[in-house]
């Protein structure tokens, strides 16, 4: 039992240290700055952005696509690894679930930020056309939020009950909260049966929902008859891209939590090695779809698409395009091919490269196409031929990213980031218990 007490002490949520407080304050300041910018945008209208007739989707939509992609981590790591009985997932799944929930919630908020008249949000439902991919998005994002929440919450129940007991004497108020959230969990066979059944349903359900979410996100683009988007490859391309972005984000966050919470005994080199291989697989898949997306049109592209491809490969967007391809995909793939590249710190660097590369990749997917319409841009100011986000857009986007990290930070602060019950069971610390789902 001493071992169990140590485990409980290690895995129970901990107060912010000095660095944690500074980090939280830093994120809060960015969120407040973004909020002020957003209020100004609502008052003055979207004229404060640099979006105009041509670049009518800008950084907000590329940021939305990034969030949606990152949320895919819940489907791939948690659900797939659970269904294939990969036990190495145990210390990673909760973090993946947290990232998934935070990202999909922020995706929903980001799409509202892009609306010129957010007060008309309800009209999206009232006047919905089922033929419109926007409507599909409006339906699938809340569905995904609900499932991501349930995916996080069901496996948490035993741990919340443990924390209630753990803090009953030292922190009764906190214990009371954990008790309420634990929904009277006692670990009875009836409760376990319901929980196991529910988790299995979620694990199965979240895979098609995740795939539908990514596909709809891709179809938002590919159902428009525009160069660079009008591609049958888009759905699979987006899913594989989300696979990379999600696993990259997971690796980066896992590394930071492991270091800050000193969880080296629970998240070992072995886990990073596994995640590295997982990321390698994701990168290879994504590389294949990138080749399909960009290499084949070089041979077959009509004039308009040729102009677009030239802008990406050697023109105005060449730097960002190659940055996203090399830093966000090729280099990470090369690094994780080597065993030493799959050690924790190199993996953290790889994770960060993937996340940053993935963000810019979405920018490169969204913006250049809008600036290359079939009909030439005419009769508008020269500045409308180009797009670079305004200060308002940068502040608001930074705030959404900070808000996502703030949600992750608070969930990490108040929830056990590694499933306590299941880890204890796997390490045979608890007697007479059947393995709990996590």
């Amino acid at each position: 039992m001493k071992n169990y007490d140590t485990l409980l002490e290690d895995l129970a949520p901990k107060k912010f240290g000095k660095r944690g407080t500074i980090w939280t304050l830093f994120l809060s300041v960015i969120v407040i700055a973004g909020l002020i910018a957003y209020i100004d945008q609502v008052i003055k209208g979207q004229v404060v952005t640099n979006m105009r007739d041509y670049a009518l989707w800008g950084i907000y939509i590329s940021n939305f696509v990034f969030f949606v992609a990152t949320s895919f981590v819940g489907s791939v790591t948690v659900a797939i690894l659970r269904l294939t009985n990969n036990n190495w997932r145990t210390p990673l799944v909760r973090i993946a679930e947290i990232i998934s929930l935070a990202a999909i919630v922020m995706a929903g908020i980001t799409i509202m930020i892009d609306m010129g008249r957010p007060d008309r949000l309800l009209n999206l439902f009232i006047y919905a056309r089922l033929q419109s991919p926007i409507t599909w998005d409006v339906i699938i994002v809340p569905t995904s939020i609900a499932l991501s929440f349930l995916l996080l919450y069901f496996p948490l129940l035993p741990d919340l009950a443990i924390l209630k007991k753990h803090y009953s004497k030292t922190k009764p108020k906190l214990s009371n909260w954990y008790g309420k959230l634990a929904l009277n969990w006692t670990g009875s066979p009836a409760q376990k049966l319901i929980q196991e059944k529910s988790i299995k349903i979620i694990a199965i359900l979240i895979i098609p929902v995740g795939i539908i979410l990514q596909t709809i996100d891709a179809w938002l683009f590919s159902t428009t008859y525009r160069i660079g988007w009008d591609s049958t490859n888009m759905g699979a391309y987006f899913i594989s891209g989300a696979f990379v972005a999600g696993v990259g984000a997971l690796i980066a966050v896992v590394y930071v939590i492991r270091r800050v919470r000193k969880l080296e005994n629970y998240i070992s080199d072995y886990h990073f090695d596994k995640m590295g291989k997982f990321l390698g697989l994701a990168c290879l898949t994504y590389l294949y779809f990138n080749i399909n997306e960009y290499l084949l049109p070089i041979f077959t592209a009509p004039v308009e698409e040729d102009i677009h491809l030239n802008a990406l490969v050697s023109g105005e967007y060449a730097f960002l395009f190659w940055f996203a391809q090399i830093v966000g995909l090729l280099l990470p793939l090369l690094i994780v091919l080597f065993k030493n590249g799959r050690k924790p710190f190199p993996m953290f660097v790889v994770g960060m490269m993937v996340v940053v590369g993935s963000w810019w990749k979405r920018y490169v997917i969204v913006t250049p196409t809008l600036l290359h319409p079939f009909l030439p841009i005419e009769g508008v100011p020269e500045s409308w031929h180009h797009y670079f986000p305004s200060i308002h857009e940068w502040l608001i986007t930074a705030a959404t990213l900070a808000m996502c990290m703030l949600i992750i930070t608070f969930l990490v602060r108040f929830l056990p980031v590694i499933p306590i019950q299941r880890t204890a069971e796997e390490r045979d610390m608890l007697k007479n218990t059947k393995n709990t789902e996590s």
Binding site: Q131, T186, S188, A190, Q191, Q195, I201, I212
Partner: protein, 291 residues
């Protein structure tokens, strides 16, 4: 000392001259107005209307710019009278269209010459400007005839005031199309001594419901301006209507959603949400089942 005072005085005087010169120059720039050039084209469509296509431009910094949003008054001058017909305000291209539905509103002078004046009174930026357009009234009568099973369009050009036929005038014959009219017949169709032209109509020209609208045009004539007449005849190949306006398609309004799209996605949506509701019920069950 006196010399010093003089130097200071001269220095101050020079500065004042320079400053006042600059101020005067600025004021002079402020009051300098640009000239406006008004262009007006007369177009008469038989049995329909008379149109004046107006364009206002100005030369600013050696560049021709469109003069937008200025009022231009249109008036009819005959003998010693001048009657205001109305006014237009130029659009973003500096253009405007003044349409007169009733020909009789414009009166000719004793020689049968019509004169229409266009005037702009000037504003803070532009000087006053005016333009006068004079024309004689001409008419074109066109009809379709059949000779040896071939359809022809024949048109006769006449000076209305003199009631005389106009020979050796060039008339264009064209079929109305969406973007640009389709010329038919010879490149130049000159009226004969009877003021008439005759042009064969090609077969196989597509038209909505098989109808073709022919235009016979006297284009920008020095004396008569532009005069045209329209003749519609069912001589074309009917265009098969491929409109999906009332069908259930992906691009239709929401009350015309394709049936498969109503069934399949709704099944998926309700199926998923049924499970989600079931899962929330399971949470309630867990909270109530302690043992």
């Amino acid at each position: 000392m006196k010399i010093n005072y003089n130097i200071r005085f001269i220095f101050l005087a020079m500065i004042m001259v320079l400053v006042s010169g600059s101020i005067l120059k600025v004021n002079a720039q402020e009051v300098k107005k640009s000239s406006v050039r008004i262009k007006a084209d007369y177009v008469k469509t038989m049995n329909k209307e008379v149109t004046f296509k107006i364009k206002a431009t100005s030369k600013v910094d050696n560049q021709n710019v469109d003069v937008t949003n200025i009022p231009i008054i249109v008036s009819n001058e005959y003998d010693d009278n001048e009657v205001e017909l109305g006014s237009i305000i130029t659009n973003m291209d500096g253009s405007g269209k003044f349409v007169i539905k009733d020909y009789n509103l414009i009166k000719p002078d004793s020689s049968g010459l019509y004169t229409v004046n266009f005037s702009f009174k000037g504003n803070d930026t532009f000087k006053r400007a005016s333009k006068s357009v004079s024309y004689k009234d001409a008419s074109i009568e066109a009809k379709i005839i059949v000779i040896d099973s071939v359809h022809y369009i024949t048109a006769t050009l006449k000076d209305t005031a003199k009631d005389s036929l106009l020979s050796e005038q060039l008339l264009n014959v064209q079929v109305q199309r969406l973007f640009r009219n389709l010329r038919i017949g010879e490149e130049f169709n000159s009226t004969d001594e009877n003021g008439t032209i005759i042009v064969p109509i090609e077969e196989g020209i597509p038209g909505v419901d098989g109808n073709l609208t022919f235009e016979v045009v006297l284009l920008e004539n020095d004396d008569y301006g532009t005069v045209k007449t329209l003749v519609t005849a069912p001589l074309g190949v009917p265009i098969v209507d491929q409109s999906t306006f009332d069908d259930r398609k992906m691009w239709s309004p929401r009350n015309k959603t394709p049936i498969f799209l109503l069934i399949f996605p709704n099944l998926v949506i309700f199926g998923m949400w049924a499970f989600i509701i079931y899962l929330f019920i399971n949470l309630i069950k867990i909270s109530k089942s302690k043992i």
